[in-house]
């Protein structure tokens, strides 16, 4: 980061404390019990995961809780090799868009349990529609990392 001209370095770190609200509290408490919760809109019948207080399409809170199976299929993914400040974990790692069974949206999480060395093999393994299932973290904290990652189903 050294520059040829005079600079002053200034690091900013500020604490924020966001309220989860009742819906996301129940969603994360569910993960701790190895249960993924979604919500189904009684108006349009679409099921969203993570659970929502209101339907993002209908803008109504007439939603009901539905248990979602911890399995689904690959919609898209990327193998991350970039490095940057504050990154969630050291690369390489895979981030995917997964459609969980019985839901009408994409769910974002990591893919694990696969070799990342051979990109061609990886593409074969993670082709669109490939089945994946959640691998639970043995230590749970009622957060998104209670799911360690999703792994391809053989």
């Amino acid at each position: 980061m050294a520059k040829e001209y005079r600079t002053i370095r200034n690091d900013v770190a500020l604490p924020y404390q966001w309220a989860l609200g009742k819906t996301w509290t129940r969603f994360f408490d569910g993960l701790k019990e190895e249960q993924i919760w979604g919500t189904k809109c009684t108006h349009c019948s679409r099921t969203y995961v993570p659970a929502r207080t209101f339907c993002p399409d209908c803008f109504t809170d007439r939603t009901e809780w539905v248990p979602v199976k911890p399995e689904g299929k690959i919609v898209s993914w990327t193998l991350v090799k970039a490095t940057y400040h504050g990154q969630v974990k050291p690369p390489p790692y895979i981030i995917a868009l997964i459609q969980l069974s019985g839901t009408d949206c994409g769910f974002h999480h990591f893919i694990g349990g696969v070799e990342t060395e051979n990109i061609k093999k990886l593409r074969q393994k993670l082709k669109k529609g490939a089945k994946v299932k959640a691998v639970w973290n043995p230590e749970k904290k009622a957060d998104i990392y209670d799911i360690a990652y999703f792994a391809p189903v053989k």
Binding site: E4, Y5, T7, N10, V12, Y16, W18, L20, W24, F28, Y48, P50, P56, V75, S76, W77, T78, L79, V80, K81, A82, Y84, H85, G86, Q87, V88, K89, Y93, I95, A96, L97, C105, G106, F107, H108, H109, F110, I119, K128, D143, I144, Y145
Partner: protein, 378 residues
Amino acid sequence: MRRVAITHVAQSSGVESKESLMDFTYAINKEILDKAGLKREEVGCIIAGAADIFHSGLSCANAFDWDGIGAFLKEGSRAEESAFSFIYGCMRIMSGHFDTVLVTALVKGSENPDNDAITSFYGDPFYLRPVGLNESAVAAMQMRQYLERYGITEEQCAKVVVKNRGNALFNPYAHVKKRVSIKDVMDSERIYDPLKTLECSPKSDGVVAVLLASEKRARKLTGKPVWLTGYGSSMDHFIPGDRDLLNGQLKTAAARAYKMAGIRDPQKKIDVAEICEPYAFQELLWCEHLGICSEGQGGKLIDSGMTQMDGALPVNPSGGVLATNPYPARGLYRIAEAALQIKGQAGEHQVDKKVRTALAHSTHGFGGQCHSVVILSS
């Protein structure tokens, strides 16, 4: 509603500046006022375009940016997306409240963390941020879907980089000036497979200012007013998984802009387009959504040569965002470049045809959550 024109434009180079942010801002704003022959006091109102909380480590950029823009002791406001700054400025003239508005967008990308670090904070702290989403990661997933759904090839995406980096060689304000080949792009590191390093935009410095005026005032200020004839914008859902990343809100934004401008056939009516393409494939996808080609035909569009500098509808003659990416200011850069093409003042990257109608586009957020389309006419 009153008509509104762009009368003058000033822009800095995208290259890293050794000046302080305030001095860097001052220089371009002084330049545009001098070009227009206006004193600071004579400008009606100021709208800034800046996102300084993450892009400068400053909160309430209005407070800091105001002095360098010359906006002190005046009415004004700010938007983070500079295409919004532009339209807010236009509205203040259309409404009859002001006769002149200065719109200025600014950032020093060289001073702040990587775009991936900054755009990670687009995500909420419960879900999207902890699973590592950032603008590049979402773009990469969007690209894979694009390649798969329509059979677009990686080489076709790479051609966008070759074109835009090539165009940038003729733009004195462009940041990255280096000719690249398809092979260079294909061989560059797959930092977010399928996205490669050379398909991702750089991080640039940039101040760009656009002076707006009412019809009566514009005719006194310039012999070549550039009229705003169309505008549209639309916002998609926050969570990328809630949307179809290949069918976002750009079609809606474009339809609104075309309706206002009375454009039925954009491919025929638009003479040149400046499109915000932070990732190479997005130029092709956005061209589809803008109606420059039909659905799934983005690959054939770049193959056809139509969007080349000497093609029937040049796209990003300035080199676009792939050459110069002053993040929050990049939308206003597109608008300024479109205006210069209509004025015939783009210099070496002026397209070799009569430009009557130009399109400028801006986007912000994961995978194009927000889009704005501006139509300018001579």
